[in-house]
Symmetry: C2
Subunit: 222 residues, 2 copies
């Protein structure tokens, strides 16, 4: 995870390591207990600092949430760009992205859950400045991710690798389908993530109109 | 919209007409300004009663939200059952359901937006009793909707109308794809709902493995 405010950031908010610790603790609390039910002071306790010291790093609980969301979205984009740059064949790249999207640590699953259950907050302006800046940044990263996907799909359409349609709507459909999983998926459930990933990857490829042939070999190579 | 508490309900909460007025006003506020940013007193003002009188109908803003969500989910289920009972051919029934899912009034679009942006709340227990009862009821209705879909898909698979796979995961995928639309769709956007409905119906049929052939004739007949 790379944050634009990592290290000694322009805003001067704390050092990178402690900041990452706070983000990790907050992600776990938000994912497990819900954002609203999480107390800022409990996060402070998790990382062994007083509640006041927390304000050295984040303006508020909301500020912290927006940073978590922005980082998660940026990481999705970076992974996507890396895979689609390394694999020039559109169908194989698409398959590789799908497989990669389900290779997640427990913390990443938790972060996805936070992202989807709180995504509605990104559409409502915040009255406080650092919060509003972080919200705008997360929204800009969402647009960047969508743009990367739509550009990729458009190239694949032009190359004849997938049927022509509206690349932007197709992007929203793929991201929407993927996002929906984290509303109901629980690590303790009876269906393993590997199986869900396989099933939903096939569905996404069917939506795109690409063959699912590469899915098996791609997964065993991963 | 049919609510189980319409008329003189067992809980004795108010008469049906005023209750529906409150639900409509709350849906509009929640959809436009967001649930958190809506004041209970403003809803009272919209329907011309004092804030105290509102408690004759609902225990709290949260109680009202859960009732709106429960009603919306129940209406989806009732529509689905009606269509799939009247049309015995699975592929044609599926197409009819898709077309119907996008024939929405402005208020229904608004309600869908409330449903998706607040759906995370349904997974967290409420401390107060009437709220918790309404939350449990909305969750039970969600399970009923999912069960109706999965049963239908399972029959269609057995009849050979669509390829065999996991009907429950396929249900979650279809509902997840549909739900995702209301996160980004705005009536003021450049893409008309009719076009979005057409596009996403095709994607859903592609996921299911059904032919999109019936989509045009079904839509012109609707």
């Amino acid at each position: 995870m790379k944050s634009s405010q990592e290290g000694d950031a322009p805003t001067g908010r704390g050092d990178g390591r402690k900041r990452q610790e706070i983000l990790a603790a907050a992600t776990e609390r938000f994912g497990r207990d819900g954002y609203e039910h999480t107390k800022w002071a409990d996060i402070a306790g998790d990382v062994g600092v007083g509640p006041t010291a927390l304000y050295h790093y984040f303006e508020s609980k909301q500020h912290c949430l927006y940073e978590i969301m922005g980082d998660a979205i940026e990481e999705f984009r970076a992974r996507f760009v890396e895979i689609t740059t390394n694999e020039r064949d559109p169908a194989r790249a698409l398959t590789a992205v799908m497989v990669n999207s389900f290779e997640l640590t427990e913390q990443e699953v938790n972060r996805n859950r936070v992202l989807v259950s709180e995504q509605g907050r990104l559409s409502r302006p915040s009255a406080a400045q650092p919060e509003e800046d972080a919200r705008q940044a997360a929204r800009a990263r969402t647009r960047d991710l969508e743009f990367a996907w739509a550009s990729f799909l458009e190239s694949a359409m032009r190359a004849g690798a997938i049927p022509k349609s509206d690349p932007r709507l197709l992007t929203l459909a793929i991201l929407g389908l993927y996002t929906s999983i984290w509303h109901w998926y629980r690590p303790t459930g009876i269906v393993p993530l590997r199986h869900i990933g396989e099933y939903f990857s096939r569905l996404a490829l069917a939506m795109v109109g690409a063959s699912p042939d590469g899915l098996e070999s791609e997964r065993s190579a991963a």
